[in-house]
């Protein structure tokens, strides 16, 4: 039974990512399959390259200092952290708040089998994350000639067991989170705050990674001692592989299996109660208030804004760029001196035209490329499409209301970031100030319209969870990676082909002009052919 449930869970996961339209029984075409394969190869290659470069810097110094175990301890820390962070919200959704818990419990299936199938589904995703990190690290270790037969066997055993430890911690945190937030009205706010904390910690860690690596290399022995005493399970993890120490392997196995077994035992014991407890915030009493009226576009816009602010997943998956735009603006303003140093260096490297303004404008454009809300706004209608389609509102107004939402969500942080950067760097440079405001603006308009158009061509309306079109939707991926590729292409075009013919300021203004033309043409398509496309969607 566990196997059957596991297969169903994995199929549901696959379906949520790739099936476009069950009603029409459409399977993916070859170009889409090739696109997904290329994207997957790209993501794996990029991740592996990053891990390999990190591993190569650490391998020899640690081995030469006689603390080779530290190499694998660091590996386990990264895997453990990523698995815990990525798993908490998924565990909350799949175990504690799963919609089909009651249905499954009404069938002749043991509660422990339901639970185990859900836990194993989580485990499969954790193994994927772990493989992306641990396998390249072990390959680098082996290429240095340090791998032994015993160490390799121990690595395989520990590879299988490490996610158990992460899963036990993630389930515990998810349980606590569910208990804490279940009676709160602002559950989404709590989730958003926690997610932003994780994100800021990740960005901070990643931006200082090189410094940490240098510290590790220079102070390896002292740091190793601290790890040995502070994180014994992870020390045993590293020591078992690097030194082939069987006793340490057994101790690590105990550290991995015992907490996992306790957690499974506790959850099995309480699963029926967890799955059937009715949670909910205190009832809000209705008090008669004067209502306000809005026009059609404004009404759709308000509706979309409420949808957006109500769902943390939508915020985090479609508009992270806004947060980064604010961070960039804040950094430039509050770390003005280091920003000016950077300006001096870059000006010396590329002295032709308003290089700094072009780079800052491009940075804001890059953050805008991470805002892909419009690419999910048609799909998000899902089985509620009948509401808009059965009412007397033109498709044009619906699309413009949705576009307005994308623009508000993306333009406001881009403009705030831009204005902060102007105060930091461009108070006496009118062209620079205009550049950091205008380039991101026309680019954001382009992304907003392009996202809607792609979503109109590839709508996914049969989702069962709002996360599906937002997190796994093909239009979102196409727009995000498409915009990254477009920006990269423009940079390469200038550096390798056009830099000898025009200065960078002229190039930026030419790009702005082209984007303005594209914005006008695509807007026209959106309100004519796009509106017809929306009318043809079957609710």
């Amino acid at each position: 039974m566990v196997k059957k449930l596991l297969i169903i869970n994995l199929k549901a996961m696959y379906s949520s990512m790739f099936n476009r339209n069950k009603k029409k029984n459409k399977s993916m075409g070859l170009p889409v399959k090739i696109g997904i394969a290329v994207l997957a190869v790209y993501v794996v290659a990029a991740f592996a390259t990053m891990v390999v470069s990190f591993a190569i810097q650490l391998r020899d110094p640690f081995y030469n200092l006689g603390i080779g175990w530290m190499y694998f301890t660091l590996n386990s820390i990264v895997v453990f952290s990523i698995c815990v962070i990525t798993c908490i919200f998924t565990a909350q959704a799949q175990i504690f708040n799963a919609k089909d818990n009651e249905l499954l419990l009404s069938m002749p299936i043991k509660p422990s089998s339901i639970l185990l199938s859900r836990v194993l589904t989580l485990l499969v995703t954790e193994y994927i994350f772990e493989a992306l990190i641990s396998i390249p690290m072990y390959v680098v270790w082996a290429m240095g000639g340090y791998a032994t037969v015993t160490g390799t066997i121990f690595f395989v055993i520990e590879f299988l067991l490490l996610p158990l430890m992460a899963l036990a911690v993630a389930c515990l945190l998810a349980w606590i989170l569910t208990l804490v937030t279940s009676r709160m009205r602002k559950q989404n706010f709590v989730t958003l705050v926690i997610s932003v904390i994780f994100l800021v910690a990740y960005v901070w860690l990643f931006s200082n990674l090189q410094q940490y690596i240098m510290n590790l290399v220079t102070n390896g022995s002292a740091i190793a001692d601290a790890f040995r005493q502070g994180f014994p399970p992870l020390y045993y993890f590293g020591s078992a592989i690097s030194d082939g120490n069987a006793l340490h392997l057994l101790i690590f196995i105990a550290f991995a299996i015992i907490p996992f077994a306790i957690m499974i035992g506790l959850l099995s014991h309480s699963f029926i109660r967890i799955a059937t407890t009715k949670r909910g915030a205190k009832k809000r009493q209705y008090h008669v208030k004067a209502l306000k009226s809005s026009g059609h576009i404004a009404a759709v816009n308000k509706l979309e804004l409420r949808r957006y602010w109500n769902n943390t997943s939508i915020i985090l998956n479609t508009s992270l760029g806004g947060m980064f735009a604010l961070v960039i603006g804040g950094y430039l303003l509050f770390s003005r001196s280091s920003a000016l140093e950077l300006v001096a260096v870059l000006s010396a490297l590329l002295p032709d035209g308003n290089v700094i303004a072009a780079i800052v404008a491009a940075a804001f454009a890059l953050t805008a490329a991470m805002n892909v809300l419009s690419a999910a706004l048609i799909s998000l209608e899902g089985n509620r499409l009948w509401i808009l389609r059965s009412m007397p509102i033109s498709s044009r107004s619906v699309l413009l209301g949705k576009l307005a939402t994308h623009l508000e969500i993306s333009l406001i942080p881009a403009w705030i970031g831009g204005i902060l950067s102007i105060f930091a760097l461009f108070t006496k440079d009118l062209e620079g100030a205009l550049m950091v405001l205008i380039l991101p603006t026309v680019f954001i308009v382009f992304i907003g319209i392009f996202g809607l158009i792609i979503n109109l061509h590839m709508p996914k309306l049969d989702w069962t969870n709002e996360l599906q079109p937002v997190k796994h939707g093909m239009p979102v991926l196409i727009v995000m990676f498409g915009m990254f590729a477009l920006l990269a292409g423009l940079v390469l075009l200038y550096v390798f082909a056009l830099s000898s013919y025009m200065n960078i300021s002229l190039f930026v203004w030419l790009v702005v002009a082209v984007l303005v033309v594209l914005d006008i043409l695509l807007s026209y398509w959106l309100v004519t052919a796009g509106a017809r496309k929306f009318e043809a969607l079957e609710a």
Partner: protein, 243 residues
């Protein structure tokens, strides 16, 4: 009020609705009956402009759903069989959104929302998010939103599913009140007793084809609606199997 002429709609190779014609006059309560998968929802969705059909035409008060969809939608209301709504909105915000789209003046919308919310005993829940509503409460909210702009034609797919007895009674009264004012109602149902008692006219659809339609007493003759329905459905099934 509603004219359906030679409506045909196919899904892939399957003809879900095959050359259906019927007419609903002002002041009429028109029941639409058929087994699961007979083509009721497809017909209803085509009338509301939710599905594009292959051939035929549908007009409401003289406006074609193909060429003047907005004009048609201004005078109709649609209640689906499963009222999936924007769960992130509260009841009152949903109703205000619908009122915005129908351009109902503020005073009128406030008056009608409170009138119908009181009638359906939903007033105290209007501030709650729709995600916390039961199926019946969602059904009531959808009904209020459908009645709010005083439609000329109310189209409903299985409207009585999930309603408690009191709400069902209020709904029947509201339906009768609307037809008394000259409005028309076209609705599908599986509850044959309700259809028999309520409807002025009835149409029976089987395997995508209209098996019978007309005034209730003409269709029934001396039989009950249940007997007529099973006879016609059997005959249509046999015809479908043979040809």
């Amino acid at each position: 009020m509603l004219d359906i002429k030679n409506l045909t709609k196919t899904f892939g190779d399957k003809k879900a609705v095959n050359d259906i014609s019927l007419h609903v006059s002002p002041g009429e309560l028109y029941g639409f009956i058929g087994h699961n998968g007979a083509g009721k929802s497809t017909t209803i969705k085509s009338v509301c402009g939710l599905l594009q059909f292959d051939s035929g035409d549908i007009t409401v008060d003289g406006h074609s759903i193909k060429t003047e969809p907005i004009e048609v939608k201004k005078i109709i209301s649609y209640l689906p069989d499963n009222p999936d709504m924007y769960e992130f909105l509260s009841g009152i915000k949903y109703l205000n959104f619908v009122a915005d789209i129908f351009s109902i003046p503020v005073e009128t919308r406030e008056e009608r929302i409170h009138k119908y919310a009181d009638l359906f005993e939903l007033t105290s829940d209007l501030a709650q998010p729709i995600s916390t509503y039961s199926h019946g409460m969602k059904q009531k909210l959808a009904l209020i939103s459908a009645l709010m702009h005083d439609p000329k034609l109310l189209i409903m797919d299985e409207p009585f599913v999930g309603l408690d007895p009191k709400a069902a009674k209020v709904m029947k009264d509201a339906m009768r009140e609307l037809t008394d004012r000259g409005g028309a109602i076209f609705f599908s149902t599986h509850v044959l007793e309700v259809a028999e008692k309520l409807c002025d006219r009835v149409a029976i659809i089987s395997h995508g084809k209209l098996a019978a339609s007309g005034k209730m007493d003409e269709v029934l003759g001396n039989e009950s609606l249940e007997d007529v329905f099973f006879e016609l459905d059997e005959a249509a099934r046999a015809e479908s199997d043979n040809g």
